[in-house]
């Protein structure tokens, strides 16, 4: 026994490769300094700008003005409405699409799945551009309505309404739900479904009692990612150009760049960052739990992550 213990190298971090101590520090510090300077410092600068008054003295006046302004409260409510509406919509639509792709085999299913993936790589403003031609006042849908119901029938002006923005975001973000859901469904044992069905369970019952519990983590991961992305979405809302659809990111843009009021833009930005980081932490936490629960299935996180930046 004693020889065995003596043969082992001395334990503890202090004894590990002491000669490398200095090089490791030199090697680790430059990238850390760079991300501190180029990522961390700007965030601190936003916070700093928000607590400064016109003369550069410390003051909370911007905070009290902005937080009580009807513009900020309106944007906050609109952001929540658009984000929650879009997330619920993508969950419904994404679940349906993923279930059909996974369980109702048809020729060309692979092609459709790839097509859905393609949307992940497109800039989000493309959707708004397409919507002008499809659902605008002189668009395709209006032409179809006119040809069916006569020239008197007008399409309601959904394009510039909150509903139009929600529909555009559902269109754009649905792949972010389909991706992880398909991954989870592909590892679901088919026998379970067949046993349940052979015992007389109808399709809805099989979905509710067999499929749903298995894919719930993937659904939660996809849903919280979409909630974060729709909360942060900028391109779709900006291109819509509607006066009554002002979300927090658009408010930050108009305050910061259009009216050059940096302190109040910084207040809105700080509020938005707090909101987004809370959600992001919840999302990472959910993903981590998902990983430990089912180590075999890939929740598709990396893939859905892949398109996050381009679409904001």
């Amino acid at each position: 026994m004693t020889t065995l213990i003596a043969d082992r190298p001395p334990a503890g971090p202090s004894a590990q490769r002491p000669a490398l101590r200095l090089p490791v520090a030199v090697w680790v510090i430059p990238p850390l300094a760079m991300v501190l300077g180029f990522v961390g410092w700007p965030m601190v600068a936003v916070l700093g700008e928000s607590v400064r008054d016109g003369d550069g003295a410390l003051s909370l006046s911007s905070w009290s003005t902005v937080l009580t302004s009807s513009e900020f409260l309106g944007a906050l409510g609109r952001t929540a409405q658009v984000a929650i509406g879009s997330t619920l919509g993508t969950l419904l639509l994404g679940s349906f699409l993923a279930l059909v792709l996974a369980f109702v085999p048809f020729p060309g299913a692979g092609l459709v799945a790839r097509l859905i993936d393609t949307v992940l790589a497109l800039p989000s403003f493309l959707i708004t551009l397409a919507f002008t031609f499809l659902y605008g006042s002189a668009g395709v849908l209006q032409a179809l309505i006119t040809s069916v119901a006569g020239p008197g029938a007008r399409l309601p002006p959904i394009l510039t309404s909150p509903l139009g923005v929600i529909l555009a975001e559902i269109t754009f973000f649905t792949p972010f739900v389909v991706r992880p859901l398909l991954a989870a469904l592909s590892v679901l044992p088919r026998e379970q479904l067949e046993v349940a069905a052979s015992l007389g369970a109808g399709p809805l019952r099989v979905l509710r009692t067999v499929v749903l519990p298995e894919v719930l983590p993937a659904l939660a991961a996809g849903g919280s990612l979409v909630l974060l992305l729709t909360l942060n979405e900028f391109g779709i809302v900006l291109f819509t150009g509607a006066k009554d659809v002002v979300t927090l990111p658009v408010l930050i843009y108009t305050r910061g760049v259009v009216s050059l009021d940096l302190p109040s833009a910084a207040v809105v930005a700080t509020a938005q960052v707090v909101l987004s980081l809370l959600l992001y932490t919840a999302y990472r936490f959910g993903i981590a739990r998902l990983r430990t629960e089912s180590a075999t299935s890939d929740p598709g996180e990396g893939a859905s992550h892949a398109a996050v930046v381009a679409h904001q």
């Binding site: 090697w27 700007p42 800039p123 499809l134 900028f234 910084a266």
Partner: protein
């Protein structure tokens, strides 16, 4: 599998087909068609023309396109260098330093891109480092935004790396620098190439941070497309979007050619 009767299958597939057409096919096809449509007042575009595409490539549009390509390539390369350095360093750093480095790298994707832009605008419009009004603030914004993806791609590549190679190199007396340059980096080449492609693709379509920081002399193509769309020129905006997508696809194709060359060596 869930649906055993013929009719229910047909109904579900019909609804599915309709949804895929409305949600996936229609938006993409509309922008492609609008790019070559002279007029679009009915259900279908008419007077098909290449005029918008030609106009999208006029000197003004071309300048924007070149700005976008240069920004994407410079930001992509910068973020891959810093990102892989951060990923490699984080892997050997003590816990808190690792978490801080990786956490900061991921921060830009958790907050809206306009906030990233606002932060850079505020932080780099005053000494010690004044970048505002130059192209460097746009390139920096893009590099910061894609950093999270290059870091996670390289970290994933590192996780898959077989430690036997570097252990063998070390046991033969190679120094840490030599192990890095001759063993780990060559083995990481596919990840680095993938990270570059991803970074370039994301940077080409970026709008939120760019619109906060860009100087008039350095206007990327998405910002130009927004200006076109904002003044009601949806046809030209669509044509420019098609140009943007085509050039992005070309860049990715070129990068994948370089990657397969590197794999052959």
């Amino acid at each position: 599998m869930l649906l055993w009767s013929r009719t229910s299958r047909a109904v579900v597939l019909a609804v599915f087909g309709l949804l895929v057409v409305v949600v996936v096919v229609a938006p993409l096809a509309t922008v492609l068609l609008a790019a070559v449509a002279g007029r679009w007042t009915g259900a279908l575009p008419s007077d098909l023309t290449g005029g918008h595409l030609a106009e999208a490539l006029n000197p003004d549009g071309m300048a924007s396109l070149l700005v976008s390509v240069q920004t994407a390539l410079l930001a992509g390369v910068a973020s891959v260098i810093v990102g892989s350095w951060a990923a490699l360093a984080a892997a050997s750093a003590p816990g808190p330093v690792r978490r801080l480095t990786l956490g900061l790298c991921h921060l830009p994707i958790a907050v809206p891109s306009v906030v990233v832009g606002l932060g850079l605008l505020i932080a780099f419009n005053r000494p010690p480092l004044v970048l505002g009004g130059t192209q460097w603030i746009v390139i920096l914004a893009h590099a910061v935004l894609v950093l999270a993806f290059t870091v996670s791609t390289v970290t994933a590549g590192l996780d898959r790396l077989d430690p036997a190679y570097e252990q063998a190199a070390r046991s033969l007396g190679a120094s840490e620098a030599r192990v890095l340059l001759r063993v780990r980096l060559p083995l990481l080449l596919p990840s680095l190439a993938a990270a570059t492609g991803l970074a370039v693709a994301l940077s080409m379509g970026e709008l939120g941070a760019t619109i906060m920081v860009y100087p008039p002399s350095w206007r990327t193509l998405p910002v130009t497309i927004f200006a076109l769309s904002d003044r009601g020129d949806a046809f030209l905006a669509s044509a420019s979007t098609v140009v943007l997508l085509a050039v992005t696809a070309l860049l990715l194709f070129a990068l994948s050619r370089i990657r397969s060359r590197a794999a052959l060596r």
